[in-house]
Structure formats: structure tokens, C-alpha cells
Symmetry: C2
């Protein structure tokens, strides 16, 4: 034993100098800074929605691959200027902010129609899915599909969007077919994953989350504002293509089907940031950020 | 095969009529409403901290079982009125709100001392732990310890608090021993569980979260407010026992080691609320709420 031990100092010296020579894996900032042009994609202008408030603009990318009829109806409602001058009526702490017309006082044919429950969809090779490595409490598999946090069940051959922070959904009443788009919500707290497969998620916020997450919480049941003057007026809600060119955003999001995104995920699983002392070696679906940047017009 | 099948209709009829006769399990509201006095405990006045802002009071219950020396130092700093007239200086969206003295301009001996890294503790029979049934992405086991979301590793014989929404921690610099209590943060977004075992968590907010989670987000790096006038002044931070009796809270929290709490957890795993169409049959640690109520003085 002792003789063997004698060689350890040399072996250790070689091992540790090799470690020192290897650079640590990149941090999240480094992954983003060194991403190549092909690691980014433009946001689809046909599916970009602007929620305009006095305080600024919230940019939402819609997800027609998951809820095509809901998305189509929201586009129709936006074209009809249905949402303009409606309000944010509900902000429930650690849950959702919600806008629209909960009492159907401004009902239109589009805002009143019955909708199929697009809460999940069949697995299909047409819908990309880049799996994450660390499992999930709620679903057999989780990962990303074109920037969207997604869960799936290979046995049931089903795929659905996950209620992560910043995801946008269509409120409904007790009837699963009642989500016309008259009420829209965004997740502002710990991800309420129990809502998965119960609501049609229609997209995610790419820019402007603090305009919603930082709103005063409503003091009524379920976070509804109790006085009309507490509600936050919607100036307009428009599809990007209906906005003058000079007033459009030029956002790009990081692609989620690339080695660069894998490196980004790894930089969240194990942080070599000079601060972390215990690296998790794990990451939850809803703790993976989606990098978004402004591109030149 | 066919003969066997002939008895199915009768068996099925018995089975489904039995199901119909049984009342559905209680909802979360029903569990809370029917909880008995013994299902609640008073908050420990020796470990209750009030963060007083112009907009109201945030009540924090401290966790000396997990970070005894950090808790002791925060009590000392509160007794010394160290926090009074300091400010909330940082609100980072989907992450934390933080207050204190990041630049050490108001340093005192207590606010400058080196602290042992109380990021995890040995498993012990003295520390209660009620396990949850559905696993976790980050830890081998999760559950509740006296109302605190907790993770543990039976092999390593370690136990630690989990960074769920509303948990309160002690900010530190790169040195693990630098968390004196000069900076304190609260989680206001999706639970950043990668911080587990990297920081001393010292308690959780029981009341007043919207006063922190609803603050405007800072526009500087890491959510720091860029202008001093954006900072939110702390009126005072005091232990409950240092506040006049007439001005004290009388909060009770639901015990987490009872059959009632198990029923509460079950009511979150499977919701019989007339709205849910797909019951998750799962619940994440950070999606289990801790009921808090006002008691008569």
C-alpha cells in the first residue's frame, strides 16, 4: 500500500495540471456572446402579437403548431380591435396576470364562439422536440420545441406546452370549449404545471414581462382588482404585421435545436461562474431561459 | 374469454355506482376550511421578523434549525436597527428582490463578520421531515419541515432548504463566508433551485409577498435600480418581540406533519374543482402552498 501511495503525488500533479490547463465550460453569458448568426432565428412576424400598455409594449410569439384554432381566433380578435380599451383585470400573486372581458360585456361573435380544447396535440415528426436530460415531476419527457417549453408522453403519443413563467394561455370557464380568447393570461410566478393539459397555451412573452409581473396584485378573490380604476387599460393589441413598419420590433430568439442551445442548457446545469460552490448538475424545464436579442432592422 | 367478458357489465355497474356514491376528495379550500385547531400552529414570536415598508408589512418566519448563526446575526442586526433607512436596491424579474447595503457604506461589526456557510445541515431526527410523493428534479427527496420546503439526500445524510417562491436568503459575494446579513433577498419568480446549497436560506415570507413581488423591476444589471430615487426605503426591520404588543401580528400556519396537510397536498395533486379536466396526479415541492391565517389576538 505504502509503495503505491508513493506515486500519488506525481499522478496528482499531472491530473491537476491537466485540469488547470482545460478551460472551464462556458457560462451562460459566454454561450450567448459567442453564438453564431445561425444560432438565432427571427421571430415570425405572422405570429407576433403586441400588447400595448401605457407603460410600454409586451411582445408575444404565438404558437400555431400547438393551438392553431385558438391562435387564429386571437388574430381575428386583434384585427377586429376587440382588445383595445379592455383592461388587465386580474393579477394574482405567484400565479397569473389576466386581461380581457371576463363578464362578456363587449361580446362579439369571435369572442363568444365555442372552441375545441387544444390542450395537447398528437406527437408528430413535423413538430421539433429537443429533450432535456434531467426529467420532470409532471411529464415523462420535457424539452423545447421552437423555443417553447414542451412536455410529452411517448406512450400516449401526446405533446403539449408547459406552463412556465411567461407562457401565455387562454382563460376559460368550466366548459373546456369556453376559451374563445376573451380572456388571456400570462404566468407570473412559480410555474403552475398542474394547468398543463387543462388550458390552451398559445405562446410566450419574448419582451416586456416586467410590465405584467410587476403590476400591483389585486385584492379580490383570485387576484381580481376590486375597483375599476385599479384596472390597467390596454391601449391596443395588434399583430405585428398590422403595425406600421417603423414601429415594429426586430427580435431574434436563440434556436433551441442546436449544439449552442445544448451548451446553454449545460451552462445552467453546472455553473462555472466563480460564485457557485455546489453545482446542481440538473436543470428544470422552467429554469432554462430563452435568450432574446434585438436585431438591426 | 368471452364467458369471462359476460360478467364485466355487472362488475362495471357495481364499480361505477360505488364511484358515483363516494363524494369526491376535498378541494384545497375545503381542506383549509375544515382543518381542526390542532392542524394549525402559532408562528414562533422569537423567530418572527417584520420588514416594514411605506406600503405595508412583510412578515418573515426565520429558520434557526437550518441556519442558526445566520439567523442569530440577523436578529442582532435587527436589534441594532441596522436595516432601518436602508433600501430595497434590486428587483430582478423572475428571480429575487433584495435589500440591504450592497456597497458596505453602513458597515457595522455584525454586518461585516465572516459567517460559516450554513447552506446545508446533517440529517437529524430532531428536524422533522414529511416527504412528498412525486420526486424532484434537483434532489433525491423533498418535503416539508415545520412549514419549510426542504430537500434531502439520505446517502449523504444532508438536509437543506429549497429555493421556493417566498423563501428568504442571505446574499453573499464570491466567498462562501461573506453572507453576514447585510443583504437579504426573497425569491419572486420561478423557484431558482440551482441556488440550493449555495446560499444560507434563513426563512420564508408568511404575509406581504405582493409588497415585494409587485415592485418595479430594476433596469440595471441583475435588476439593480439605476437611480437612488427608485430604491424602496425600509422604514424598519424588527423582531416581533421588539414591537409593542398592540402592533404585533397573530398569524397561524398550517402544520405540515399532519393528515390534514397530507390531504392538502393530495388536493393539489388531483383537483376535484369542477374545472380541471386533466388531473396531474403529481405536485412539485414549490407548488404546494402553506396556508396562513390570522388568529384572534
Amino acid at each position: 500500500m505504502y509503495r503505491q501511495c508513493k506515486i500519488w503525488p506525481l499522478a496528482a500533479a499531472i491530473f491537476f495540471s491537466a485540469l488547470a490547463a482545460a478551460a472551464p465550460p462556458p457560462t451562460t453569458s459566454e454561450v450567448i456572446a459567442t453564438a453564431k448568426p445561425a444560432d438565432w432565428r427571427a421571430v415570425d412576424p405572422q405570429n407576433t402579437l403586441y400588447l400595448q400598455l401605457d407603460a410600454g409594449r409586451v411582445v408575444i410569439e404565438l404558437a400555431p403548431a400547438f393551438a392553431p384554432l385558438h391562435v387564429e381566433n386571437i388574430k381575428r380578435l386583434a384585427h377586429e380591435h376587440y382588445y383595445d380599451a379592455l383592461s388587465i383585470v386580474r393579477v394574482q400573486d405567484n400565479y397569473v396576470a389576466q386581461w380581457g372581458d371576463p363578464d362578456n360585456r363587449h361580446a362579439t361573435p369571435s369572442s363568444s364562439q365555442s372552441m375545441p380544447p387544444e390542450f395537447e396535440r398528437p406527437l408528430s415528426d413535423e413538430v421539433p422536440f429537443a429533450a432535456l436530460p434531467d426529467g420532470d415531476v409532471y411529464a415523462p419527457q420535457v424539452g423545447f420545441s421552437n423555443g417553447l417549453p414542451t412536455a410529452r408522453d411517448p406512450q400516449q403519443r401526446l405533446l403539449w406546452l408547459a406552463h412556465c413563467y411567461g407562457m401565455v394561455g387562454v382563460g376559460r370557464d368550466a366548459a373546456p370549449t369556453s376559451g374563445s380568447g376573451a380572456e388571456i393570461y400570462v404566468v407570473i410566478g412559480h410555474s403552475p404545471r398542474h394547468l398543463d393539459r387543462n388550458v390552451a397555451l398559445v405562446g410566450r412573452v419574448l419582451k416586456g414581462m416586467p410590465l405584467l409581473s410587476g403590476l400591483p396584485r389585486g385584492s379580490g378573490a383570485m387576484g381580481f382588482y376590486e375597483k375599476p380604476e385599479q384596472q390597467v387599460k390596454i391601449k391596443s393589441m395588434r399583430m405585428q404585421i398590422d403595425v406600421p413598419a417603423a414601429d415594429r420590433e426586430h427580435l431574434q430568439v436563440m434556436r433551441t435545436d442546436t449544439p449552442t442551445f445544448k451548451a446553454l442548457v449545460e451552462s445552467r446545469r453546472n455553473r462555472y461562474d466563480g460564485w457557485t460552490v455546489h453545482r446542481a448538475n440538473r436543470v428544470e424545464l422552467c429554469n432554462v431561459p430563452l435568450p432574446v436579442r434585438e436585431a438591426a432592422p
